[in-house]
Amino acid sequence: MRWLLLVAALLAGCHFHRDSNAPGLSDIENPPADPAAARVEPEDPGEEMLAVNPGILAGGGGREASPQGFGEFGLEVSVVRGWNERSHIEDGFFTYPLRGAGAALGWSALRLTDEDPEMGPLYGEVYAFRLPWGAGGGWAWNPADGDHGPQVFVSGLSLYLRARYLFDDGAELTAGFQGKLPFVWVWSR
């Protein structure tokens, strides 16, 4: 676990460049304004990105089934395809698409209630985002009892609100914090 933390600390926010589509935008047809110019710099076509985001969720919620209140800790990994109108600068802090769409697999792994801890459902979601906002939906399935049903979520920055309806247990609403360590592959548009 400590080694995992060390590797995560070292790689947090890493991104990797690919040189696909690398040429820039340039008006080739027309001559430069200065006929003797040595070089006219190409313009920025923007960037495409693929991000893999493993992370954790921590929050709490309420539900129709008993016990109604619970704290929740979960795991989630999402894969996102996005783009930016302008290319990143190398010395920017995190490189991440400002808009895009993706899919996530998650697990509300641990639920703490007044009674015994319990295991929450697994889920798959698809979503779209335009930072700082995101929204999506998917399906949840609880391996403990086979209960399943649809779910939707909205997020703002690192906060999320998720509503879920399980056909046996009924509705539940959870909210909390999601922390992710993105690994991003970047190439030109």
């Binding site: 676990m1 400590r2 080694w3 933390l5 060390l6 600390a9 070292l10 947090a12 926010g13 890493c14 991104h15 990797f16 460049h17 040189d19 696909s20 589509n21 690398a22 040429p23 820039g24 935008l25 340039s26 008006d27 080739i28 047809e29 027309n30 001559p31 430069p32 006929p35 003797a36 110019a37 040595a38 070089r39 006219v40 710099e41 190409p42 313009e43 920025d44 076509p45 290319s87 990143h88 600068i89 190398e90 010395d91 920017g92 802090f93 030109s188």
Partner: protein, 307 residues
């Protein structure tokens, strides 16, 4: 057992020294380096000093105190390799961004003994929130290490041979002035050093290494040049340069057919599509054109000989 080790380990970070080093790293990287204050060299060294102190402390905190000496040594070796070994420097840059290959930065290794001494001292136990907060701040400071300002670079076609031949009455030069996804534009400079000169640009052809051919369309085909007159002709070659790039077709031959008076010559140049790096300094050296040779009409009038 492992929990107890972790508690003691991350308590190392809850101390003014590593937090101060993290603050120096953040302020220096995000403010001072960009402003080159007090100077680019000092700002660069400050980050190296703070980083060299922090990295073994953070690594030890997240692993085991038994490895403290090993982490200090590994940090020193890694830093030396980063500053001396171009391949290693390139590999690190690919992941973490620009880092100067500068042996002069090795002077900062002097901070490592202080890092080792710090790791030998005992650390007071700290609560989980303080440990988590200090670990987070220091990890972010270590990861967010921007160098001076960079921006994206793009592949650019370049004339790599035979760029300045002489054809009878005219000296020529050619360079790629525009390059992008839809082709490139060539500037042809004509300098009538051999007296008044009539030049026809009969045709312009790009033959890619893959066998593909693109025709250039000179903006002007016929020029009447007075003695020592200089003219520039723009020749765009429009083709799917992005597709060629993606297919790995990154070289070709440019053929210009020039008629000067009664003579007709084919000027062949090789060209390559070159990308130096995904990012480059925002203020690169200014691009230059081939030097213009002296021409008799350009020369100052001869001095009168005193009698």
């Amino acid at each position: 057992m492992s929990v107890s080790h972790r508690v003691r380990g991350t308590s190392l970070l809850v101390h003014p020294l590593p937090l101060l080093a993290a603050a120096v790293l953040l302020v220096n990287d995000h403010l001072l380096k960009a402003a080159a204050w007090p100077s680019a060299a000092v700002a660069g060294k400050l980050s190296d000093l703070a980083g060299l102190f922090l990295v073994p402390v953070l690594a030890t905190a997240l692993t085991s105190r038994r490895l403290a000496t090993a982490w200090v040594v590994a940090t020193g070796i890694g830093f030396a390799a980063l500053k001396l070994w171009p391949d290693f420097n390139g590999a690190v840059e690919a992941v973490w961004g620009r880092n100067a290959l500068d042996p002069g930065d090795l002077v900062c290794l002097a901070v490592l003994p202080f890092s080792w001494l710090y790791l030998q001292r005992g650390s007071a136990p700290a609560g989980p929130l303080r440990r988590a907060g200090a670990t987070g701040i220091i990890a972010i400071a270590c990861a967010a290490t921007p160098a001076p300002r960079y921006q994206r670079d793009y592949p650019f076609w370049q004339v790599t041979s035979n760029a300045t031949p002489v054809f009878h009455c005219v000296e020529t030069a050619a360079w790629v002035v525009k390059s992008g996804k839809t082709g490139f534009g060539l500037t042809v400079r004509l300098h009538a050093t051999g007296g008044p000169c009539s030049v026809d640009l009969a045709s312009a052809t790009l033959r890619l290494a893959s066998g593909g051919v693109a025709r250039g369309v000179p903006a002007r085909r016929h020029l009447e040049l007075a003695r020592c007159q200089v003219e520039h002709v723009y020749v765009p070659f429009q083709f799917d340069s992005e597709a060629a790039w993606n297919l790995g077709v990154r070289s070709g031959t440019i053929e210009l057919v020039l008629a000067t008076g009664l003579a007709r010559d084919t000027w062949r140049m090789t060209a390559e599509h070159v990308l130096h790096d995904y990012q480059r300094a925002k203020s690169p050296p200014a691009a230059t054109t081939p030097p213009l040779s002296a021409c008799a009409a350009d020369a100052p009038p001869p001095k009168e000989i005193a009698k």
